[in-house]
């Protein structure tokens, strides 16, 4: 087999001359975006690895660089509760959290989406307890998938910044009016210092505009009752309406990403293909392992495998058609899960991808991989191993049912 596809250079458009390059970690990149957005209310509670965001933002408040009311709440549940109150009051409200903090917020995740409040959350993805673990994986984000939020996932500090801005416009779009989460991989992105091209403040402010809700608690003459009891006579209708709004958000996300590309020169898509034009064997992933996965694709291609990778940038609503289309030429698909879906048919991302492929006339073979739980070091070798296994599947036409656990200590083996 011959590698016929050109490898793209990183970044497919030149950044506008007005951008400024700064060296920051992912947490500070999000805080920088928050300063530029200057929301009316930020409510957050410290938790590793999210604290970088709120500490930096607290400095902006202390220095008078923003007119935001920063509420130092007493828990994550209160963080999102305060955002619910503020958002219903007509304010732009933002929070940030991680892992166990998200778990504590759980009740309010559904309240925020059910009440159709366009709160934005920066979720610094982290393992869930027990055992206690402060490091990165996607257990928290995957547990959030069915709470009705739009969920975006980046892979770098640059994307953490970019998606922080884009998330704001998606959530508040009149066709959507749903909360939106920006998934920032814990430690691998939050704590990684990289070059981040930031836009000028005025360009950001024009891009995000102001939040102008139709009704609010503080509007002159308001008599709205938010959060009423909804019984068997109307609850079903409201849930159906909420579901429709979430699906309706996909074209809004695509349009927002396009509009952001025009001002930034960075054209993000809802899915991020790599070497996919002729790919027969593909690894699907979400988040910060992208660089290593791309390197593994390159290595596999050097070894004669038509390899490719597909990163999911929009986790919810899951871009079913786009994923099916992107994978339509593949014969073997491996899906990398950084979480376990305990007791499910498949782990979370594999489950989504397989569902998206079910209606294809020629369904490819699929195989699950689990990697990087609780901050387990993610290596190029793990993804090389994954491609080796996928090559075997391609050659034999058989796929084992159980996932492969990359980097896990098995009996008598030293992990890759």
């Amino acid at each position: 087999m011959v590698d016929t596809q050109e490898r793209p250079a990183s970044g497919d458009m030149a950044a506008p001359a007005t951008s400024t390059a700064i060296a920051v970690n992912g947490g500070e990149a999000v805080a920088y975006a928050l300063r530029q957005i200057e929301p009316e209310v930020v409510a957050a509670y410290p938790i590793t690895p999210q604290t970088l965001i709120i500490e930096k933002f607290a400095e902006y408040c202390a220095d008078g660089l923003v007119r935001t009311e920063y509420i130092n709440v007493e828990s994550e549940h209160a963080a999102l509760s305060a955002c619910v109150g503020a958002s219903a009051a007509g304010a732009r409200a933002i929070t940030a959290t991680a892992g166990p903090g998200l778990a504590l917020m759980f009740e309010m995740l559904g309240v925020a989406s059910g009440m159709r409040l366009p709160i934005v959350m920066h979720l610094c993805t982290r393992a869930l307890s027990a055992p206690l673990n402060i490091l990165g994986d996607h257990s928290d984000a995957m547990a959030m998938r069915e709470t009705g939020w739009v969920m975006l996932s980046g892979s770098s500090p640059q994307e953490a910044y970019d998606l922080a801005l884009v998330a704001q416009t998606i959530a508040e779009h009149p066709d959507v009016m749903l909360p939106c989460a920006n998934l920032v991989d814990g430690f691998m992105v939050t704590h990684a210092v990289e070059r981040v091209d930031v836009l000028p403040d005025d360009v950001v402010r024009e891009f995000v505009g102001e939040y102008e809700p139709e009704t609010s608690l503080l509007a002159e003459g308001s008599t709205a009752t938010y959060g009423a009891l909804d019984f068997r006579d109307y609850y079903f209708e409201h849930r159906r309406q909420q579901e429709a709004a979430l699906y309706r958000s996909q074209p809004v996300v695509e349009e927002a990403l396009k509009r952001f590309g025009e001002i930034s020169g960075r054209s993000h898509k809802i899915i991020e293909p790599y070497m996919m034009d002729d790919a027969e064997v593909v690894l699907v992933l979400m988040g910060s392992a992208e660089g290593q996965v791309h390197a593994a694709v390159d290595a596999a291609r050097d070894a004669g495998l038509k390899a490719g990778a597909l990163r999911i940038r929009l986790l919810r609503p899951f871009p079913t058609e786009a994923v099916a289309e992107a994978l339509s030429g593949a014969r073997v698909i491996g899906v990398l899960d950084r979480a376990i879906g305990f007791g499910s048919v498949d782990n979370p991302l594999l489950s989504d991808v397989k569902s998206a492929l079910w209606d294809q006339s020629a369904r490819p073979l699929t195989k699950g991989f689990v990697y990087g739980l609780g901050g387990r070091v993610v290596t190029l070798g793990q993804f090389n191993q994954a491609f080796d296994e996928l090559r075997t599947v391609l050659e034999t036409g058989e796929t084992p049912g159980d996932p492969t656990y990359l980097g896990l200590r098995e009996d008598g083996e030293v992990p890759a």
């Binding site: 059910g114 009440m115 159709r116 409040l117 009016m177 009704t215 008599t223 709205a224 009752t225 938010y226 959060g227 009423a228 909804d230 006579d233 109307y234 609850y235 079903f236 209708e237 409201h238 159906r240 309406q241 909420q242 429709a244 709004a245």
Partner: protein, 97 residues
């Protein structure tokens, strides 16, 4: 309580927000009642104790005088009769068809 409307799921107010202030008025809770407050207006001093202590906002006033009881909503609790300082309210059994 209120019957559901015939509107499609597409047309119900988003997020369950209620935009009809005071609309519970259409719920005629007077049907709960087994006893009925009857006011002896000759004895009434218009002190408004009944008005302030009514859980169902049923005592109707005009220019500082008591006018009537809203029997569409009065649940017949009898607080008014118990608390009236001049005992000019009597609870009598409700007669229904």
């Amino acid at each position: 309580m209120t019957q559901p409307g015939t509107e499609s799921w597409r047309d119900v107010p988003a997020g369950g927000t209620v935009l009809l202030p005071g609309s519970t008025e259409r719920n005629l809770t007077g049907s709960w009642r087994t006893k009925l407050p009857v006011i002896d207006f000759d004895a009434c001093t218009h002190c408004m104790i009944c008005w302030v202590m009514c859980p169902d906002s049923c005592f109707k006033t005009a220019e500082g005088t008591l006018q009537s009881v809203d029997l569409d909503h009065c649940k017949g609790c009898g607080i008014c009769a118990t608390e009236c300082p001049v005992k000019c309210i009597e609870m009598v059994p409700e007669e229904r068809d």
